[in-house]
């Protein structure tokens, strides 16, 4: 497996505020990696540095074989950025805009990877086929975001950046968006880096999650792996003859087996509650928002050990 992104000791300082204090990670080809963290943890700064939009204070960064701060236009052609659009191109139509922006990728087309995407197919993929010739100004927020996704992938990128892609989505739009990301990762083999502050979204999309807090990475694992690391005791709830019982146990499976061995059919209303990643993550976010970035980072590092 080839490494698409390498980040070593990345640091960013605005004035005398250290936003990133030594971040290290790699992204492998074809991976969907999620940068998870509370607002202000440095996720956007990190992704903007990798996109080549922001100049870092220190550290080494290689993206698709080049330093994004000095990368050329050929490098740009291999990446895609999904921007949070706002009110640009109000008089254009989705079809016209995609044709125009996709056009820049045509000189970079290769037999293995023809660029850009066919505009009609792309509009179909993001569910804008019926609105292809409407003025962009008349699109709803969710439709606009789908157009943003289409613009981000029109050049068939090898590496796609998504910064808080579903902010402001309703549940339906969110679901559709997740489907698009899955399809991209599977059928195109696109490597995807996305940021979110929503654990649930990270769980749905990512092969691997990096949790960013206090300017450092405090956890780097799959969501399952993270859950297992966070798990300590589980709470088991059951009832026998209408009497409710509950117990904190280390090995829930063994405990439940013993329970059935002893009481058999009498056991009812069985429930096992795992100490969840969510609890640990929410504690981290709370600490962070209270302004204790360092404490938050420590807390999570201890829990997730």
């Amino acid at each position: 497996m080839t490494t698409v992104v390498t980040v070593r000791d990345l640091r960013m300082r605005y004035g005398d505020n250290d936003v990133l204090r030594g971040v290290d990670f790699d992204i492998n080809s074809g991976e969907v990696l999620c940068l998870l963290g509370p607002n202000g943890a440095g996720k956007t700064t990190t992704i903007e540095i990798l996109e080549g939009f922001r100049i870092r204070s220190a550290g080494e960064v290689t993206v698709l074989g080049q330093d994004p701060a000095r990368a050329d236009e050929d490098w740009r052609a291999r990446t895609g950025v999904v921007l949070q659009s706002w009110r640009d191109h109000p008089r254009w139509t989705p079809r016209r805009l995609l044709t125009q922006l996709g056009g820049y990728f045509a000189p970079y087309s290769t037999p293995e990877r023809t660029r850009p995407h066919d505009v009609d197919l792309l509009l179909e993929t993001v569910g804008l086929a019926d609105l292809a010739d409407r003025k962009i100004a008349t699109l709803s927020g969710g439709q606009r975001r789908r157009l943003d996704v289409a613009v981000g992938i029109v050049g068939r990128p090898e590496l796609l950046f998504l910064d808080e892609p579903t902010a402001g989505f309703d549940p339906q739009a969110r679901r559709e968006f997740h489907d698009i990301v899955h399809r991209l990762a599977e059928s195109e083999g696109t490597t995807i880096l996305l940021t979110t502050h929503d654990l649930d979204e990270a769980e749905k999309l990512a092969d691997r999650v990096l949790i960013l807090a206090g300017g450092r990475i405090v956890a780097d694992d799959s969501v399952d792996g993270l859950s297992r690391r966070v798990e300590g005791e589980s709470q088991v709830l059951w009832s026998i003859d209408g009497t409710r019982h509950s117990e904190e146990v280390a090995d829930a499976t063994a405990f439940v087996r013993a329970l059935f061995d002893k009481h058999g059919d009498q056991v009812a209303e069985l429930e096992v509650r795992r100490a969840s990643l969510e609890d640990a993550y929410i504690a981290l976010v709370q600490q962070h928002e209270a302004g204790h970035g360092d404490a938050a980072a420590r807390l999570f590092t201890e829990v997730a050990r």
Binding site: E48, E51, R76, L101, Y104, G155
Partner: protein, 283 residues
């Protein structure tokens, strides 16, 4: 396929698309008609006013000056607003995210702003030529109109681009762009001869391109005898070429540097900050 020339072609297509969308938009049509009504209305009200020292009527003398001022104004304020706005709404960032996109964006902007002058001039020239006599002394003047227009564009458009590039927000284009251009318009001999002003104001006006574009336009439309009204009683064609040419060269050298620096600083966070700022007008 060479990506650079390909990007220039895409930029021209972009400019054409923007231009055709603009002339179809009621908002832009309204703007053209509004300026035309102001100018033609002013000339009509003063159609019987003699211009002292000549046998010409006021519309003949004022029309070329006003055209010159409108060109300078449009080509400075137009790109300044466009750039300031498109920095904020993410248009520029979109182009930064595609290969050679910024080149295409600026080519498109050059095309759009230049092409936008055509409807602006037409809506003023057509009714003026129908309403007033003696506007064009000699048909060869149209040739002069062409080169003054072209050189004027090259001299003033970079100023607008630089203002749009450095201005911190769209709301500031008023103070950074509009105000100085209005002041220049006031002292550039558009509405009264420049010689009536203090000598130092006269010097300042002649440093900037607006005066020279208006002078060039007068030299195109008016008979040679009207040169008597000008500084040095001459059209000073060589000086016009020199001053406008100098601005064009400085602009061509300086603008890419300024715009490149500005584009380097474009980030998603900046666009987001602008969106937040736009929702909060009073601070």
């Amino acid at each position: 396929m060479n990506p650079t020339t390909h990007a220039i072609r895409l930029g021209l297509r972009r400019g054409w698309t923007e231009f055709s969308q603009s002339i179809r938009s009621t908002q832009d049509q309204g703007f053209y008609l509004f300026t035309a009504a102001l100018v033609v209305g002013y000339l009509f009200l003063r159609r019987n006013t003699d211009v002292e020292g000549t046998d010409l009527m006021l519309p003949s003398v004022a029309l070329p000056s006003i055209l010159g001022a409108l060109i300078a104004f449009g080509v400075v304020i137009g790109p300044a607003y466009a750039l300031a706005m498109e920095k904020e709404d993410g248009t520029l960032l979109r182009h930064k995210a595609v290969p050679h996109g910024l080149r295409g964006y600026f080519v498109g902007q050059l095309f759009l702003q230049s092409a936008g002058l055509m409807p602006q001039m037409l809506v003023i020239l057509v009714p003026s030529f129908l309403l007033f006599d003696d506007l064009m002394a000699d048909p060869s003047g149209w040739l002069t109109v062409a080169w003054v227009l072209l050189l004027g564009l090259l001299a003033t458009m970079p100023i607008g681009m630089v203002i749009g590039g450095v201005v911190p927000s769209t709301q500031k284009v008023g103070t950074w762009g509009m105000l100085p251009v209005m002041i220049l318009g006031g002292i550039s001999g558009i509405f009264y001869p420049i010689q009536q002003l203090w000598w130092w104001v006269e010097v300042i006006a002649q440093v900037f391109p607006m005066y020279w574009i208006a002078l060039g336009m007068r030299s195109a439309f008016l008979p040679d005898s009207a040169a008597a009204l000008e500084v040095g009683e001459s059209w000073r064609t060589w000086e016009t070429l020199g001053v406008l040419g100098a601005w064009a060269i400085v602009g061509a050298l300086l603008t890419p540097i300024v715009l490149r620096r500005m584009a380097r600083r474009q980030t998603g966070s900046q666009v987001e900050a602008a969106r937040d700022a736009s929702l909060q007008w009073i601070r």
